[in-house]
Amino acid sequence: MGKIKVLVGMASCGIAAGATKVYNKISDLKKLENLDFQLVKTGCTGMCFREPLLEVIDSSGSFLYGEVDEKKTIEIFEKHIKNGEPVKEYVVKSELFETADSPYFKGQIKTVLRNCGVIDPENINDYEKHNGYKAIKKIIEKETSPEEVIQTIIDSGLRGRGGGGFLTGNKWKFAFNNKSDEKYIICNADEGDPGAFMDRSVLEGDPHAVLEGMIIAAYAIGATDGVIYCRAEYPLAIVRLNIALTQAREKNYLGKNIFGKNGFNFDIHVKEGAGAFVCGEETALMASVEGERGMPRRRPPFPAVSGLWKKPTNINNVETYANVSSIILNGAESFNKYGTEKSKGTKVFALTGKIKHGGLVEVPMGISIHDIIFKLGGGIQDDKKFKAVQLGGPSGGCIPDYMSDTKVDYDSVNATGAIMGSGGMVVMDETTCMVDMARFFLDFTQKESCGKCTFCRIGTKRMLEILNRITEGEGREGDIELLEELAVQIKDSSLCGLGQTAPNPVLTTIKYYRHEYEAHIKNKKCPAFNCKKLITYTVLEDKCTGCVVCAKNCPVNAITGERKKVHFISQDVCIKCGVCYNKCKFDAIKLS
């Protein structure tokens, strides 16, 4: 038996899918059989739709097993780990042969996710083995000046990955140009955007890459202190970050005179967010770090001039920092050879919703939405009809199916009315109601509005009320126009990005799906059969066989009837969840 390495994907999503059981089983079997191989907990490979994942690397190559349960674990252990015979039918990825899931990886280029699922995130030595901390060491050894570092970042064309899309190198330059005895580096890890989880994956799978990016930024602008503002909903990310920080301090990669360079003092601390979406906005984030209510501040002055504690501050998001070390190490060309004229490099997208293969993909900028969804993502669940994709979360918008050849780069996406955002891509099929989607996002931004600007505070509330009544069949003539008017006013008169973009989901759905709004308002019908006040489930008497499956599965016991007799749905009790509709094998439930 050659040297074998076994990796278990243990990011939060893997753990939720049952990876801990897999890890423990292997660990138990290893002890029981007294076998010698390396067992590693690693991050997420991005193949979330096949979690839990188990990878076995032997002398012939690597074999990634998907949807591993206890039974499969035992089989893989017996056959592969013990006897060196891969269990091919469970393999979802291997460089040795094609699998049904191979298309998921074709076209992906991994820069940010290069180490996720490959290294042990809790071991700094593993990161260093994979070119870790080489970029910063190269800078120190070659005595590269901060100006040169900044120029390389400018040349690479890297733009902020948090949504703003501002040229990162220019941001650094502004902070560099402002002289001060104290400067700060902040990493925005307050990934509040529902439907996006790339930052969580990076923090859980490769925390040192983020630290290295921040250290390089600190060198470039002359910062003394760093803060990672991470949302409290990511407990595992916080744990792994703190482990990484301790290890980096032990090696003197953080602290005083780091990397042996006199006068290079820099340390990083983790600040836990307390649950406010608006804190993803940079000035609100800084207010929160200072211990205040997370309310945005007026710009200018920009953070590069007067940021945290009124000192020059550079703030980027997790994915941006994770790109930095690779750019420094491999040169600006290694990054800007990918992408389009104005959007360089690769971008991580979180594919979720009604898609067959949901997970994280990293692709060059400029790839079309169609390619991401159908080539990588495998198409729509249950082969239903693709309807739209939501990009950019609550600040973004919906892009309809007929525009799916839109290229994903900052400018093309902006032209549709959506925004790139942090890269959340929620796929919707024919059963998704676009008015309800708009209502959902407005409900979110309305709750998350900090209350500082009147138009955002009250305007979103009024818009939500209108959307609520439309989805409940109480819509009035003129509601669409009223929504549009309010939307423009909110966009114009809000201080921060939250308010300025909150109406986007409404505006894009009105733009592309006006007929759905009209159907709700004029005909009191929901074309997607989604809005609960506008639909009913009834039993078709001629088709019902009395199999009792619907009654058994109804979560609220709204269905009554004896075996082999026609069943009845009590409309007062029914919560319109649609379980009976999906469970009935005889198409005896009618949705109208």
């Binding site: 509040g192 909903e233 307390a274 406010a276 211990g291 009604k354 929620v426």
Partner: protein, 173 residues
């Protein structure tokens, strides 16, 4: 809007007098005179006590000189802080975009139906608190809920209720 008035019922006076606020002293010492200490103090207080009772605010204010109004302002701004005691198990149902598209409402409704409490409330036996949260970041397993620190994915209403019933059963024994 995050600003909300939170009523604090005083019917559990006995219990509050039992709370040993000295437990907060190490937290107060740890963050004494540190810039931006207000949020971490409140976070650790909540970790220690499970929630932040009115008396805790007063105790911290007295010891640190932080203004009560500032503390209350912060505590009511952020979703994380609880001013009321929570149940032994906190059920967080994810209502992020991906979960919403995959019918997260059904999960919440089924739990409401089963536990006979509304969103944000605690069962009379103090066993469960039901909460809707924005995004737990497990979008590919949608719909998702988290009970204590354990996540459950690919749920249906029935499945969610069964998981809760199992916990109920364990608690009874």
């Amino acid at each position: 809007m995050r600003i909300q008035r939170v009523e604090i019922k005083q019917d559990n006076k006995v219990e509050i007098s039992k709370i040993n606020f000295m437990k907060l002293d190490p937290i107060i010492e740890k963050f004494r005179n540190k810039r931006g200490n207000l949020i971490p103090i409140l976070q650790e207080t909540q970790n220690t006590l499970g929630y932040i009772p009115k008396e805790a605010f007063e105790y911290i204010s007295e010891k640190t000189g932080l203004k009560l109004s500032d503390m209350y302002g912060v505590a009511t701004f952020y979703a994380q802080f609880r001013l009321k005691p929570a149940g032994k198990h906190v059920i967080k149902v994810c209502h992020g975009t991906a979960c919403h598209v995959q019918n997260a409402n059904t999960i919440t409704e089924s739990i409401i139906e089963s536990l006979k409490i509304n969103d944000g409330e605690t069962t009379p036996d103090n066993l469960f608190t039901l909460e809707s949260v924005a995004c737990l970041g497990c979008c590919s397993l949608a719909p998702v809920m988290m009970i204590d620190n354990e996540s459950y994915g690919k749920l249906t209403g029935k499945l969610a209720v069964n998981i809760i019933k199992e916990i109920q059963l364990k608690e009874k024994n």
